[in-house]
Subunit: 268 residues, 2 copies
Amino acid sequence: MSTMIFRGNERITALSPRDRGLMYGDGLFETLRASGGEIPWWSLHWRRLQDGARRLGLQMPDEALILEAAKTLLDQHPQVLKIVLTRGESGRGYLPEAGPGTCILSTHALPSPMPRPLSLHWCATPVARQPVLAGMKHLNRLENVLARRECADAGHAEGLMSDSDGHVICATAANVFLYADGQWHTPDLSLCGIAGIARARLLDMLPEIRIGPVTRMQVEKAEAVFLCNAVRGIMAVHRVGSVSVPGHTALDALQQRFLGAHPFFAEM
Amino acid sequence: MSTMIFRGNERITALSPRDRGLMYGDGLFETLRASGGEIPWWSLHWRRLQDGARRLGLQMPDEALILEAAKTLLDQHPQVLKIVLTRGESGRGYLPEAGPGTCILSTHALPSPMPRPLSLHWCATPVARQPVLAGMKHLNRLENVLARRECADAGHAEGLMSDSDGHVICATAANVFLYADGQWHTPDLSLCGIAGIARARLLDMLPEIRIGPVTRMQVEKAEAVFLCNAVRGIMAVHRVGSVSVPGHTALDALQQRFLGAHPFFAEM
């Protein structure tokens, strides 16, 4: 069995076609790396889910219950667990009613490894600025879907997305970091983008990092660029658009430290 | 029976928890007014659904099949039909795979009538500018959900939403029109907002209307303001925030013409 659905704390067998997750993308999700039946970053993901649920006003299920269900699903040691939390079922109309949320757990194989060398597309699909939703891993992800298709059409496995002012925000399914002038930089996500869990772990390891606006020119002139997410860890970037990224020992050192702290990413 | 689900042109019994409509809001919807088992604006809604599907790259089911299913659902004369079209089921990951879409039909009662006099809230939740998605009635509707909750918290049934530049775009579930200086005005929706079917019908009736940026001050100084959607038709507005709307015979005349052309809205 690879999927379980809960309505509040009650196990149910099928998803209602009137679930607000489907009707309006009214919910959140988490994609967690599992290893040997364990979920090393469970607490971080659960906390982000709680934060998002508080911002959107969603009801959370019981953590122990969901963790136990997740462990059952991980019995065969799949390496990816996905949690979707929605506002649950309701009638037609945007007005949210208070009621139990829907929580869907599913397990997945690791995705195919990223091509190496990794070359990124510059996505034309922008990331819309929406401070009310910024940072959250919510279910309104049409932008990412369209940008990801653009990458595929251009023959790339990933690409960088920028906001309406041309500031680089993220990859379609990862956060982005760059090294220039002896310093790490990563985009500010207070207006848009998803504040990833791998990003948060890396910010802890890089207390001197500059979080601020990142321009396309900064990316093109960077000495090292990498993407990161909670499934793949750090992905070194070798080319962005038509520009080669030279690489820097600071990235090699960071990758070593990161793998040392989180060895399960070596399985990728 | 009040719900039918199709996978492509094949009737299915349950919605997959891996449907991309749920996972990413990767789809579209239409809300259609029905009357006496008929759907007066079917062709307009279907055409908008086709336009959106082309923009997103979704596969459409057969029109005759879905219309026949809709007519079956409308046997008991419910007055609202909702169509949700998604990209269908897929594995994890944003990349869309080509495959049959999911089409969900459901019927609903008319919503409660709008309070009269109708007073609008100024929503703090902005509408994000996203030209790639502008105009479409897609499933990424968290903004509308949050704005609608704001209205309810403030004791209002509806409210006006503005973009990041302060331009008024729409109500949470309706388009907005205003009358000032002898002329009708309605917001330009090329950067954000949903291009409603009732709006399109009204644009046909008002060839002299000005479609352009609309400021909050223009709304507050307007002689008449109304909202419109395909379920409720024209809703005259009597107050916006703390400002009373005086009203104008141009609105009375428009309402009469509109009801004359589309008499089923008199049932509301």
